[in-house]
Symmetry: C2
Subunit: 269 residues, 2 copies
């Protein structure tokens, strides 16, 4: 018997564990859905690589997830969303949700003085997608976008409140203090793990937002709109694939998801 | 007319620009040889990835270089040498030279008190290959091996003498000062760019060595032994392939090679 499409999984891909901060919110909003998450750990990181390469990776990852029978794609990776979401929409005939639009929406809803900072990888910032998505919703906004290429390695090394990290934060974010931003958008799914250290540096008057919860709301809305909710008769299955080192992903991933990852397999080419 | 084998190129692969520090010495020692260098920039970095994945990448890269008609393979990447050199020797029937043996040889020839530090990526250090290769030559040596995962991103960001880099060096290398090492081996081809900052921290009494020049001598010896020198009748050709972003490689690579890179192509899968 063919499984009804509604009970197919929601698929997500990221270069690594970062997207799990988004998945956590998706699971919270949709606890009954089946999930397939692919982490492209053999080719991590994506942030500093070229647009063409990220598009190729994103297409390959989506095809792999479609082979696992997904009913919907979420791209909880800012770099992949920035470079490839339009191409994925063109090619694939399933609902696709990225993290940039939800993040921009949230930042615009939160700011009072219209001065919004965006932090991201070099790829995300260079693409200009956040700047465009914010201006589309709030044309008078002043957006200050800063690429923070060392944040990902620091998070991967778990140096979340280390003096080195504090110094790097100071180096990257000093211009933001001078610009009196009132809202700071974390445009990379690794960065929420640095939220505390960033907040300390920026002070309590700055509101830090990320796209995780808004993205999950978007997923919920889309499932309702497309009538794609699963029937909830069985326990939800959450399965994780990686292209390198399942054990490392399982360990680090559990911290990002704040819940143990039980079923992790190596994707074999 | 088939090109005589002696005029085939020497092939090298690395995850990125790091191996160019070795290539520079190879070119200095063998200015008439043709060169093909492949930088796997789409999958950079290698240092923190698993043994199995690095073996797979190394085999794929070698096959690509063989398709470009190489007569000899040099692996100027410590992580790839550490994990994959034995496998490459098993599979491929051409002379193959890694960077670990030359580096170990040099460290042993330089030390006076037998206390040798090795710095490398997590993959290289975990493999234990430097520790074994040094002990093989100097059984009474005391080897202190330290993985320095943030060095590569710091070099890629060109933060060569930045306060952040100094703090990271202090963090990683303080145990070495206490251990009174007299020789420090840079077991990653990115690290020579941090030589000055490392020397400053360790003090002038510590001799810093890398494998580049010794590796080039090894290449020279092997070519002589195998009677594989090119005839030198034509100008040597140096060609570079990358799996991502030729322009970025060209810019950063010229700094590593200390000479402009003119011919860089994208390898298409």
């Amino acid at each position: 018997m063919k499984m009804p499409k509604n009970n197919h999984a929601i698929g997500l891909f990221d270069s690594g564990v970062g997207g799990l901060t988004v998945l956590k919110e998706v699971i919270r909003a949709l606890p009954k859905e089946n999930i397939v998450y692919f982490a492209d750990t053999a080719r991590i990181p994506y942030g500093e690589k070229s647009r063409e390469t990220i598009i190729r990776f994103s297409i390959e990852n989506t095809i792999f997830l479609l082979e696992q029978n997904i009913k919907m794609l979420v791209v909880p990776c800012n770099t992949a969303t920035a470079h490839a979401i339009d191409k994925l929409h063109q090619i694939f005939n399933i609902p696709i949700i990225g993290v940039v639009e939800p993040g921009a929406k949230k930042a615009v809803s939160v700011t009072k003085n219209g001065r919004i900072a965006v932090l991201g990888t070099r790829g995300t910032i260079k693409s200009g997608i956040y700047q465009r998505e914010i201006k589309k919703r709030l044309p008078e906004a002043e957006v200050i976008a800063i690429s923070c290429p060392l944040f990902v390695p620091l998070v991967e090394e778990r140096m979340l409140s280390h003096p080195v990290t504090k110094l790097v934060i100071q180096e990257y974010l000093t211009p933001l203090k001078k610009a009196s931003v009132d809202t700071l958008l974390l445009g990379c799914t690794h960065y929420p793990l640095l939220r505390k250290a960033i907040q300390e540096f920026m002070g309590e008057d700055v509101t830090i937002v990320d796209s995780a919860s808004t993205c999950a709301e978007e997923v919920l809305l889309t499932l309702s709109h497309e009538k794609l909710h699963c029937d909830g008769q069985n326990d939800p299955k959450h399965h994780y694939y990686v292209s390198d080192d399942p054990q490392k992903f399982q360990q680090l991933g559990s911290e990002f998801l704040e819940s143990p990852l039980t079923s992790v397999s190596l994707k074999v080419d």
